[in-house]
Symmetry: C2
Subunit: 197 residues, 2 copies
Amino acid sequence: MKNFVEPIEKLINEFTRLPGVGRKTASRYAYKIVNMQKADAESFVNAIIDAKNRVRYCSICGNYTDSDICSTCSKGNQKLVCVVAEPKDILALEKVRDFSGVYHVLHGLLSPLEGRGPDEIRIKELLERISKYQVEEVIMATSPTVEGEATAMYIAKLLKPLGVKVTRIAQGVALGSDLEYVDEVTLSRAILDRKEI
Amino acid sequence: MKNFVEPIEKLINEFTRLPGVGRKTASRYAYKIVNMQKADAESFVNAIIDAKNRVRYCSICGNYTDSDICSTCSKGNQKLVCVVAEPKDILALEKVRDFSGVYHVLHGLLSPLEGRGPDEIRIKELLERISKYQVEEVIMATSPTVEGEATAMYIAKLLKPLGVKVTRIAQGVALGSDLEYVDEVTLSRAILDRKEI
């Protein structure tokens, strides 16, 4: 491996912090930065500083926003709350245009192994929201992983006594997928949750 | 497409300047930055500023360096010069460990279409180098594209009268490639440049 000059080496190391970026991609990014006009590099730096300084959490749902309350919370139906682990999960869900409700970001999932219990994620805030806005339905949209399932079950148990309808996003075979290549666990779940047609 | 809050939107736009980065990848990078510890974001920003401020061109070869003369120029054999278009081309060549010579970065290729003539790229500097260091061989390692070829031929014509040996990297079928999938132009060149075995 070539030894880069020290400032470039450092920049490459910084770029490898980004998701999915290895040394080769990072070195292409670093060369691009070094090759940029000074004004372009400055606007890059300012965008990072600005994002770090101005972006904060919505005081209702915990998603990123640059004001006190995010745009989804200020116009969405607060009686229908979709619970997710991280802000980036909202990006995926936002593609589904017909959801009229709002989100609740837990900022993590329950994980005994990593020492994350109910107090480390935003469950208390969810409970407060439910009584404040008389929430009617909570959709648990955490990932179908062990941690995602456990968190969904834990929250469902907490909310049931409050008279809130708690639902879970459906699990089964993905649309367009080939049955031959679907893993066993997913297939067994798809059969278990079969619907009458 | 989801509307991001303005500071995140701006940061995403900045990330799309990087080579090969589309909006989706840029938004993942931006979320990562927003989610970083403040100190980590600061070290990221400082690495960019530092690279822009401290990295400059080697006064001999034109490659990136943080001192006056790059490490390759200070220890390499100045009589064997490998000419490339951009600093990033040196990265690829450096993997070939057995090259003991030095480089010369043109910072561009001749391109009448884009208005780049001989005065816009570092040809004058190459000529000065040749007389100053009594260069014996110049290897033209520009890409085998129309512009790369034209630049190699132009420089070869300039240097021949000076008694310098000018060579061109070999063109032919890539090692490990399947002959069935080699394009016609490459194959015809490979036949033309055949070697006795």
